[in-house]
Symmetry: none
Subunit: 132 residues, 4 copies
Amino acid sequence: MNITLKQAQAIIEKAKAKALEIDTKMNISVVDAGANQVAFVRMDGAWLGSADIALKKAKTARFFDMPSGEIGKLAQPGGSLYNIEHSNGGLISFPGGIPLKNKDGDIIGAIGVSGSSVENDHTVAKAGTEAL
Amino acid sequence: MNITLKQAQAIIEKAKAKALEIDTKMNISVVDAGANQVAFVRMDGAWLGSADIALKKAKTARFFDMPSGEIGKLAQPGGSLYNIEHSNGGLISFPGGIPLKNKDGDIIGAIGVSGSSVENDHTVAKAGTEAL
Amino acid sequence: MNITLKQAQAIIEKAKAKALEIDTKMNISVVDAGANQVAFVRMDGAWLGSADIALKKAKTARFFDMPSGEIGKLAQPGGSLYNIEHSNGGLISFPGGIPLKNKDGDIIGAIGVSGSSVENDHTVAKAGTEAL
Amino acid sequence: MNITLKQAQAIIEKAKAKALEIDTKMNISVVDAGANQVAFVRMDGAWLGSADIALKKAKTARFFDMPSGEIGKLAQPGGSLYNIEHSNGGLISFPGGIPLKNKDGDIIGAIGVSGSSVENDHTVAKAGTEAL
């Protein structure tokens, strides 16, 4: 019940294809069930600062088994999880991180994408999940 | 005037029983009067990211001798303690952390719980305090 | 193929019993297959600074699937892994960390013990592994 | 004069082929001329703790434009760079990191490999450099 490198690379290739299709340059990270990074790519010309964000989005999605943006909704000022980002060495709580499930529905890891608008980041991450 | 491991484990067992009763999966941490961790458990299937949050809630409760959620009320934008979470290597200022007192009312440590809604986290932490 | 809380607690109890038997006060940490902490106890009067060391020993043992002391042999001045301790947010490379295996031989986590001589730390960790 | 993702992926594939050939499981990282990670893979079953080491070897090789092991020779007790590993958020100064040059001899990045003996790590890193 853990992701393989082959799966992670297929997910990244699918995400990258979507990134090209919508004319964006992305950092794409995949972590395993233990929230440890399995594979990563930064597309040519993509933001340098988005590498760490992609990884933190993937970790955030696996840490709480939900899309990173869901955490963000609860982490706003006045929200129940305000400033949760200070935990775990830094979370990223806006969209672009999505848990990865096998065909039995078990969570086997997560993908994190960063490099464009959060809508585009989420779209590319979503495309990646479809490789499973 | 410091918590013992035996007390900490009794607190955790009581908290865990409450967590099971309300059908949640929790990370539960107990710190001593010096804000150093005494005991910790992560229930099977509980969020990985909640381990650090449970510890930070317990530390926050002992650092300021009040429930972590009380700090959060003052830490909102415009509030008197805005962004206090940046101190002490990261605070967590939403509910789930509660100081622990002996029968004389001395603070001997704190409990921190994370893994569900903040209401549930607080409920489970509260149950833990009743073991004293 | 991951450790359960029940297993982790049995391991800790067994290790604690050994610590009492040899008249030591220990910090005992158990991590899962993803190197994330599952359970921890600090015995009354045990060194405060050993909590982090126990966790780092457990992580080191799982990070490299061998006892932490084996890493230390290679990490001496002039050795092939000199100063490896600077990686992964800090390793501990002296004895007291041991991988945990299930009956099929799969590594399902690791135990880390700190609070006495490294020989005693290793002895207590070894006792813990026998709970599986 | 900077590495492309296509080049980084070719380097990683070549390194991975060598890792399989010599029956090892590696973490492989490629950084660019700015010492920022471009691509990374962890082979199935490779040590979890070697991901950070692979990245730090690649960074070390690019930070000083020489193989990571050359730094290590100077970083021994009494050596001119003793404990240089404390800089830059942690260096790794044993073999497995090698600068990457284009056909004009310009350094365009570095590769870092970790997961076996340092000799094997270096061999796999060297194989990766031959993809350029």
